[in-house]
């Protein structure tokens, strides 16, 4: 990505401003005992097996999450990619058990760092998992800050609620996290309206990080932000992942942004994962026909390739087809697509939900 522009000779002497150098340097983590990176990188952090989340509506049952299984390792960033209405936001609700009232069916086995958290009672889950071990940045969360409470207090709130820390102690920690996400410490005393969108987004990120969770779920964290601010936030996330060893699940519909953080990409379609591959394979050599089409539809800035649109529309989550859910739009549709395939394991640690990759299909 070397697009160093031809600049005027006078200016080319100037060192290009290292923007990161502007950011404050970070104090070493003081509370080492509860570090997110305490487990060895590479060991399994989260395993989700056969998760379902269905809603009851007046028009029928919406199968928003319909049999999702995946696994992620410590210090990994998993991107859950999907178009609107594919159930990706419901997946975050299922993971954090922040369920709406009209749940029709909710099941699945979730194992976090060896502990089966799906077995915990609601109260235990609230006390030991939500926000203390898995935290979240919700969609448009920056607009959900309480306008009449100082940002610092809001960021410190999870510590006071979950850890029962004193005001001073949690404030110190909040200052630390502010540092981490690149917010000046004096912003602690400001009100949300005094912060720009990017700054608020950083504050929301700080709120998610303040309890030093094992896993942070980010639901479209940058979709409402400008290009440059977005890039800055992504830089912060990369740095936190690199330096703190935090694991991320990034939920997004934006293919280009997703590549900024992904170690692994899980593509959702109509409530299911259709492909789950390491990033280097996903972005360069997608397996599933839907992935191929989706990648081909992404306009690219630096290549003169006409992007192509995917004909048709995803099925309604109210009336899902019997067979493969992508079959209607799929160019490699054949007779077996009348049945819904399982997620098949492929070489290179890849998985795809398509009949093209069953063992027989591959052997022939």
């Amino acid at each position: 990505m070397s697009n160093t522009p031809p600049v005027h000779p006078d200016a080319s002497q100037q060192p290009r401003g290292d923007v990161l150098a502007d950011d404050p340097s970070y104090a070493p983590r003081q509370s080492g005992a509860e570090s997110a990176a305490s487990g060895a990188a590479g060991e399994t952090l989260l395993r989700v097996e056969n998760m379902h989340l269905h809603y009851r509506t007046q028009r029928g049952v919406v199968r928003a999450v319909d049999g999702i299984s995946f696994e992620m390792k410590r210090n990994e960033a998993l991107v859950v990619l999907g178009e609107s209405g594919c159930g990706k936001t419901s997946l975050t609700k299922a993971l954090l058990r922040t369920l709406p009232r009209n749940v029709a069916h909710f099941s699945g086995k979730v194992t976090l760092a060896g502990e089966e958290i799906s077995e915990l009672s609601e109260e235990q889950f609230r006390r030991t998992v939500r926000w203390s071990r898995i935290s979240m940045v919700m969609q448009a969360a920056m607009n959900a800050l309480n306008p009449v409470v100082r940002v610092g207090e809001q960021v410190a709130e999870p510590l006071r609620v979950h850890n029962g820390w004193s005001r001073e102690k949690s404030r110190e920690r909040a200052a630390e996290v502010f540092h981490l996400v690149g917010l000046p410490a004096d912003f602690l005393n400001r009100y949300p309206f005094e912060l720009s969108g990017g700054m608020r987004q950083r504050a929301v990120l700080a709120m998610a990080l303040v309890t030093d969770p094992l896993l942070v779920i980010l639901d479209e964290p940058t979709s409402a932000l400008d290009v440059l601010t977005q890039a800055n936030i992504m830089n912060v996330l990369k740095r936190i992942k690199r330096e703190m060893g935090t694991s991320f699940i990034l939920i997004t519909h934006d293919v280009a942004t997703s590549s900024e953080l992904a170690d692994r990409v899980a593509l959702m379609y109509a409530g299911q994962i259709v492909e789950d591959s390491p990033a280097q394979h996903y972005f360069t050599d997608p397996a599933h026909p839907y992935t191929k089409l989706l990648m081909a539809s992404v306009p690219r800035l630096r290549e003169v390739v006409e992007p192509e649109h995917i004909p048709g529309q995803p099925p309604s989550l109210l009336e899902l087809p019997e067979g493969c859910r992508f079959a209607d739009r799929c160019p490699s549709r054949h007779e077996r697509c009348g049945a819904n395939p399982e997620l098949q394991s492929l070489p290179d640690n890849r998985k795809a939900r398509c009949w093209l990759f069953t063992e027989e299909a591959q052997s022939t």
């Binding site: 809603y55 009851r56 007046q58 009232r101 009209n102």
Partner: protein
């Protein structure tokens, strides 16, 4: 519009909405029926009372009360044309009413209406009452003018004869108690010493025979006298004076007792027409035995049938509620939309007027106008709408319309050149109508109650029979003190049904059309 159709289809999912709709349908049905089948002239005439209601009882309960184990008499009207035998012999006219009286309760009142046609001299009538026991009581005699009301109930001679009982009670009573009272006071008490001695010493058989001979009593009566005296003696009342006092009390008690003697009664009216030629004179008679129950709603202190007011109250209440609700909500919305769209001084003026108006109390102003100027319902309606337009809801609509003003579709409309009024009426107002409709529906009963409260305070339109007027009359005539609960209950129930029906329907609509309240 499909949004409306979809919304109203959802009504089926809300039982409360269906019940509310049923109530509203009932009220509108009743209103339509009233307007079609009970002309306002008729109702107004009835409500003026007097002659139109002369055959109605006073303060009668609704007839359906008998379904709850009562046997209260209904009003009975007999006319000489249809229910009487009329014989004419020269100038002698004889009218005879014959009727069965089988209720266990007495009527509230009885009266004879006599109408005469004559050339010169007034016909003269004598009236007599025949009981099933064969007794005959004179009901007086009088000259008959064009129209006479002969109130049997107010006949003072008869009243004295029945020891202060109402004559219509006395006439229908079983005479046995009267007899027994007379036996006690005329026969037994004067000869008390003797009788006590007999009762104390001898066999019952002997004593009753002796009593029968001595006082000319039937066997049954003698038996009764024996038992009365023996019961007193058994209670240890043996002193002569105390015994006499006790018997006297018993006699008074019996005199006051009135029990209907069921059977066939006759009223005989003998008229001397004072004219010998046919056609020169005639007398028609109507006998009315006023019941204790009347119609579906009972009557008030002026014999007026409450159902007239209940029925005519429905269209009046609905019309007032609807007109006031339409008048306020639509104009309020339009004014709010105009203020929001044009902004600036127009908006500021509307806001200030609203703020002043919110402070003004509606009810006291209406009371003031009612007492000082006029209580016409149209004036009240006008004032209600006028003060209702710049109400707090203007602020609510403004809050709803402000974001709509900035919405992209309005910008698009401006971009293709839609004018100001098109934007206000075609793009802004329809957007908030779904939220408006439920509040409009729930607003209707508010105005119905307002109109009723004015009437209760005595500021109702004097010419209209309304629910509020009924409550006002009931309150004024102590309906609750005297146990005329039906008088208060009927209009209250109508008001409550109105409130309930519109409220249940309106709140369900609110849940349907207001996305924030939608049940998922």
């Amino acid at each position: 519009m499909s949004r409306w159709r979809e919304g109203f289809k959802q009504v089926r999912n809300y039982p409360s909405a269906i019940l509310g709709l049923a109530l509203i349908a009932f009220l509108f049905g009743l209103a339509a029926y009233t307007v079609v089948f009970l002309s306002f002239e008729e109702a107004e005439l009835h409500w003026r009372g007097q002659e139109a209601v002369r055959q109605n009882p006073i303060n009668a309960w609704p007839a359906w009360i008998n379904a709850f184990g009562y046997d209260l008499p209904e009003t009975m009207v007999l006319t000489s044309e249809e229910d009487a035998t009329v014989e004419r012999d020269g100038s002698e006219l004889r009218i005879e009413f014959e009727f069965d009286y089988t209720y266990s309760d007495f009527p509230s009142e009885m009266a004879l209406f006599l109408e005469a046609e004559f050339d010169e001299r007034l016909p003269y009538a004598r009236m007599r009452w025949h009981t099933p026991a064969g007794e005959v009581f004179p009901l007086g005699s009088r000259s008959v003018g064009a129209y006479e009301r002969v109130s049997i109930t107010q006949d003072s001679h008869l009243e004295r004869f029945f020891y202060g009982k109402y004559p219509h009670v006395g006439l229908l009573s079983d005479p046995r108690h009267q007899n027994q009272a007379e036996i006690l006071s005329d026969d037994v008490i004067p000869a008390l010493g003797e009788i006590v001695a007999w009762v104390a010493d001898d066999e019952q058989q002997v004593v009753t025979e002796r009593l029968g001979e001595q006082f000319v009593l039937t066997e049954e009566e003698a038996q009764w006298v024996f038992e009365e005296v023996r019961a007193l003696l058994a209670q240890g009342v043996d002193e002569q004076e105390r015994l006499a006092a006790a018997l006297q009390r018993r006699a008074d008690e019996l005199r006051a007792t009135a029990e209907v003697l069921p059977g066939t009664y006759r009223i005989e009216i003998l008229v001397d027409l004072m004219h010998t030629e046919e056609d020169a004179a005639d007398v028609r008679a109507t006998f009315v035995s006023y019941g204790l129950v009347h119609g579906v709603a009972g009557t008030d202190h002026m014999r007026r049938d409450l159902s007239v007011a209940l029925m005519w109250g429905t269209p009046v209440a609905l019309a007032f509620g609807l007109l006031a609700a339409v008048g306020t909500t639509i104009t309020t919305l339009i004014i709010a939309a105009i203020g929001v769209w044009f902004g600036g001084i127009i908006d500021a003026t509307i806001q200030r007027i609203t703020e002043v108006n919110i402070i003004l109390p509606l009810l006291p102003i209406l009371v003031m106008i009612g007492t000082l100027y006029s209580t016409s319902i149209w004036l009240m309606l006008g004032v209600v709408i006028l003060l209702g337009i710049f109400s707090a809801s203007i602020k609510m609509y403004r809050a709803m319309l402000l974001p709509i003003r900035e919405s992209p579709y309005i910008e698009a409309a401006r971009a293709y050149g839609a004018g100001n009024f098109r934007i206000v009426f075609r793009y802004m107002i329809p957007r908030v109508l779904p939220v408006l409709i439920p509040s409009f529906v729930t607003l209707i009963p508010t105005y119905v109650f307002l109109e009723a409260s004015l009437a209760v305070l005595g500021l109702g339109d004097p010419t209209l029979p309304t629910w509020g007027k009924l409550l006002h009359d009931a309150q004024e005539h102590g309906a609750l003190e005297f146990g005329h609960y039906y008088w208060v209950l009927a209009p209250t129930v109508m008001l409550m049904l109105t409130g309930l029906g519109f409220a249940m329907f309106g709140f369900a609509l609110d849940r349907i059309f207001n996305p924030r309240l939608r049940r998922i």
